[in-house]
């Protein structure tokens, strides 16, 4: 290895050593459903600003995967799930310190690429098999909600792809590769100016999000209180969530 290579290696090592060192802050680890990503990043930033000695570590994934990780003993302090089923599992196994509280509500949204190549104007249009339709798999919360809404409307839709994450549905619509996708209302903002929303009318079906303190550390309970408090609710509302 030449001198330059050694220099680069030494630099990388130095960066690794200094970068990994903690700063003596209290860390609170929050496991949150993927659909909460942007809202919880804002929540964490505001919480850290109010509590400078706390470092909020966020872990986003599908609720079922997070529940499985907590069941397997993952060191989470707080768990925010996108539906009740996955929360119930964790609570039933005695993994939580407190009782879950509902903190947000989400609705379904029908999104299309901004030029709407499939000419989708209402939910009923999704029964057209020539459309490339992306949905969540029925096993994940957004897919269960989508199926319930479609069944209520009597629409027989055949998705071309059943994604395991709602953001993968959004991506395919944003790229213009899918003509339509069923996502959460809160995902629409992440689509920016690449997607348009087709109004669905009043919806009875919603997903309620519960949160719970997993560990019995004081900072875990405090973060849950922050989510439920006025500041937390204001941030969630700004991302398209309702209060249940």
């Amino acid at each position: 290895m030449n001198r330059l290579g050694l220099g680069v290696l030494a630099g990388v090592l130095a960066w690794l050593v200094t970068g990994c060192g903690g700063e003596g802050k209290t860390a609170v680890t929050v496991y949150a459903a993927a659909s909460l990503s942007e809202a919880f990043e804002d929540l964490a930033a505001e919480y850290e600003a109010a509590n400078p000695d706390v470092d909020v570590k966020l872990n986003f994934a599908g609720s079922a995967r997070l529940a499985a990780q907590i069941s397997a003993g993952a060191r989470a302090d707080v768990f925010a799930s996108a539906n009740r089923a996955n929360m119930s599992r964790v609570v039933a196994e005695g993994r939580t310190a407190g009782l879950p509280v509902l903190f947000a509500r989400n609705r379904l949204a029908l999104v299309v690429p901004v030029d709407n190549p499939g000419d989708v104007t209402e939910l009923e249009d999704l029964s057209d098999d020539s459309l490339v339709l992306a949905m969540c798999a029925p096993e994940v919360p957004c897919g269960a909600l989508a199926q319930a809404v479609l069944a209520d409307a009597g629409v027989n839709a055949n998705p071309d792809t059943e994604e395991t994450s709602v953001r993968a549905v959004l991506t395919k619509v944003m790229l213009g590769e899918a003509d339509a996708g069923l996502v959460y209302a809160t995902d629409v903002a992440a689509g920016g100016n690449k997607v348009a929303t087709v109004p669905l009318g009043p919806q009875i079906r919603v997903n309620d999000y519960p949160v719970v303190a997993v560990s019995d550390r004081a900072v875990a309970a405090d973060f849950v209180d922050f989510i439920l408090g006025p500041d937390g609710q204001r941030i969630l509302r700004s991302h398209g969530f309702d209060f249940p």
């Binding site: 599908g62 995967r65 490339v132 992306a134 798999a137 994940v140 792809t161 395991t164 993968a168 991506t171």
Partner: protein
């Protein structure tokens, strides 16, 4: 490990440090497998594997991985030959581009495939106008393309290494004796190359069988068409059905082991020019 095949150093025992490291390496590779098998619901495994959804995913996996391996061989062999035998400007660059899918996260590969073959991709419109292909989402063709994208490099590097190790004097001797180009390729080059080709094909097939990220990103997750075993396993895992995921993983491991063990002689065989190796590649 008890017999010592090297009689010239009879007193020397195997270096303990190396053996210890080798044992750790085996543990790193085998322990997760043991953990999986130990958590496998053996009593219900039969019924789980007999489920229609599982068999469907297995079928898609086998079809997609074999087609991807075939594509890798048909396109990869000429590419390997060009890289090994021709000298041209930018050869290093071409090789780097060819090998890139090996280090690229497969999800990135899937998105990149959209930019190439998708509706708004570089040749997407041509696909639409010339072949009437509106989308590759939810099609087996899309799954094969995604799998071939990530698995072809494994065939190319193995075949190229084989071509480089080939003694060129054998080929030139044959042509001096009057054999034409195709005869040399068919009777000399390909038979000598057979072990490398088999190894490359096995590697690329194995990579295609385990492929997940590019497939779900580019071809989506459609039962019976693009939902391979890895996609079905991930879906079961996301859905909080770990037992179904474990059962399908055991199935995938079983199929892979069967094929790898079946091919082990071909793969690890010493490089000798046995007459039987030519039977597969040259129809004579």
């Amino acid at each position: 490990m008890t017999d010592r095949p090297t009689p010239k150093e009879p007193n020397r025992s195997p270096p303990i440090a190396i053996v210890a490291m080798a044992i750790i390496a085996v543990a790193v590779l085998a322990l997760p497998l043991v953990g999986l098998l130990q958590r496998t619901p053996w009593s219900t495994l039969g019924t789980r594997l007999g489920e229609t959804a599982t068999l469907e995913a297995l079928q898609v996996s086998v079809v997609v991985s074999l087609l991807a391996a075939a594509v890798s061989m048909v396109l990869g062999l000429p590419l390997a030959w060009v890289l090994a035998r021709l000298t041209f400007r930018g050869r290093a660059l071409v090789r780097a581009v060819v090998l890139l899918p090996m280090v690229l996260p497969p999800v990135v590969g899937g998105i990149a495939l959209f930019f190439a073959l998708g509706r708004k991709g570089l040749v997407g419109r041509a696909l639409q106008n010339w072949f009437g292909i509106d989308t590759l989402i939810g099609t087996t063709a899309g799954a094969v393309i995604a799998a071939a994208f990530v698995s072809m490099p494994f065939f190319v590097i193995t075949a190229e290494a084989g071509l480089r190790q080939l003694d060129p004097r054998l080929e030139s001797a044959a042509s001096t004796l009057g054999a034409g180009r195709w005869t040399v390729l068919r009777r000399i080059t390909l038979p000598l190359l057979a072990p490398s080709l088999a190894a490359g094909a096995t590697l690329s097939w194995a990579r295609a069988l385990g492929e997940f990220g590019a497939t779900i990103t580019f071809a989506g997750n459609h039962p019976g068409r693009t939902r391979t075993l890895p996609l079905a396993i991930a879906q079961a895992n996301e859905a909080g059905q770990p037992e179904a995921a474990i059962a399908m993983s055991v199935l995938l491991i079983g199929v892979s082991l069967l094929i790898l063990i079946g091919l082990r002689h071909r793969w690890i065989a010493p490089r000798t020019s046995q007459p039987d190796t030519s039977s597969e590649t040259s129809p004579s």
